[in-house]
Amino acid sequence: MKARIASLAPGLAFIAFWIGALEVAARNGWVNRVFSPFPSEIAARLGGVLGSPALLEALGSTVGLLAAGFGLACAAGVLLGLAMGYHRPTYALLEPTLELLRPIPKPALLPPLILLLGLGAPMKVAIVFLGAFFPVLINTIEGVRTVDPVLVDVARTFRRGKLATVFRVILPASLPMILAGMRVSLGLGLILVTLAEMLTGTHGLGAQLVDAQRAFRVQDMYAWTVVLASLGLALALSFDALERRLIFWSSRR
């Protein structure tokens, strides 16, 4: 623990340094005082944001949409990935479609999705799903393909059926790759839900951000940015913890 604090210290000191520099620059008018981030002012506004009912509403909305889209994407990506990685004909059937859809920058799908699903939650869940689905799918296929064939032969010599082999051997063995895909997906999901909220401007952290900007409540806008950054950090750390629990064995073999 001591060593961990010691290794973090220089990085934290550097953050303190540039926040201090921003503060000095803003106070002395070296940067535009209205539009630039003003740390002490952001801190004050953040206090207001943290105490307001708007925070819980926005956070709940953003996290809820993200969880729904990301959860569906993980479930669908893993199931389809297992099928495509394990069963050649399924792969041959779906691979061209996949390669066609995958390179589309997902924000480009927002306009059609708005037309098809409207401005509400279904559209936002759909865009998160589409963004998060592909990394999980691709990594699951790759994970399944690179499972040590010895493990599969073990399942065969013990005469385990196909389903048992897939779920008791191939799935756990591919888990490190699958989780790496999910980590990418989680980041993409947060980006896309924020973007969708900014476009529709009704609920969530993205909407709060755009509202503040449009109303020239500039330091409020920065405060909401800090909230979003903290959410991103919290999600990443939670994911780390989950990963350590699920694949505790993967670095030790």
Partner: protein, 249 residues
């Protein structure tokens, strides 16, 4: 004695474009309860032969019969023990859970009994990667026995552990074989190991392999790790096999 396992003119060729022949034509019969070793020069296709017998890969020609039935898939009652114990154990499962993977029905008591047999009763809650190589191989032996096989196929299972551990594992395997009435087919490049353990030894030729000769082993049982290796019959058979193996092509 009725032949439990019959290997008849088994051939294996790999690759369609530039075919490489691994096995030319192998014939061998193993009786119930026998301990037979297959030795041969390295790269002669010993492991390939064992995998065909296990039903893990198909033969290009010829057939393997277990109790008269042709083997196409891994048959019931046959378990293949992999050389690479560290790759064949599931790292996300504990020792006990790995053993339970071999059980046909989840019998808790049976698992404990098996771990006791291989001397790992105190390690059931550990993970395979927390154990030494020899202990890991004991876990895979326990897992293999959990499936209650009548035939155990051993693919150089003692080759990647240190010399003393190897002697301990030899003792364990002979002990289990004596207790269970298993039929064991062992592939090894270690002539001493083959002579020490088996009833008969099949010597393969270079690739593409055939059975050059099958040697009956006159070394009396029970085998003792030190004395048996000094027995004149042990030395004579070792001499014969090594000489044949070292003959230039």
């Amino acid at each position: 004695m009725a032949e439990l396992l019959e290997i008849e003119r088994v051939a294996k060729t790999f690759g369609a474009v530039e075919p490489v022949a691994a096995l030319r034509s192998v014939d061998l019969a193993v009786a119930k309860g026998e301990f037979v070793s297959i030795v041969g020069p390295s790269g002669c296709g010993k492991s390939t032969l064992l995998q065909i017998i296990a039903g893990l890969i198909p033969a290009s020609a010829g057939e393997v019969r277990l109790s008269g039935r042709v083997v196409r898939e891994p048959p019931e009652g046959v378990v293949y023990l992999f050389q690479q114990y560290s790759r064949s154990l599931f790292p996300w499962l504990t020792v006990a859970e790995n053993v339970r993977f071999g059980l046909r029905h989840s019998a808790q008591d049976r698992c404990r009994e098996l771990l006791q047999m291989v001397g790992l009763a105190d390690f059931s809650a550990r993970y395979p990667w927390e154990l030494s190589g020899g202990m890991q191989q004991r876990v895979s032996i326990a897992r293999a026995l959990a499936a209650e096989p009548s035939v155990l196929l051993l693919d150089e299972p003692f080759s990647s552990v240190d010399a003393l551990t190897r002697l301990e594992l030899h003792g364990l395997i002979l002990d289990l074989w004596g207790k269970t009435g298993l039929t064991i087919l062992l592939v090894t490049h270690d002539v001493e190991e083959a002579v020490y353990l088996s009833d008969r030894i099949a010597l393969l030729t270079r690739r593409p392999a055939e059975v050059a000769e099958v040697f009956a082993n006159a070394l009396p049982r029970p085998r003792r790790p030190v004395e048996s290796r000094e027995d004149a019959r042990f030395l004579a058979l070792r001499h014969e096999l090594l000489t044949r193996l070292l003959q230039p092509a």
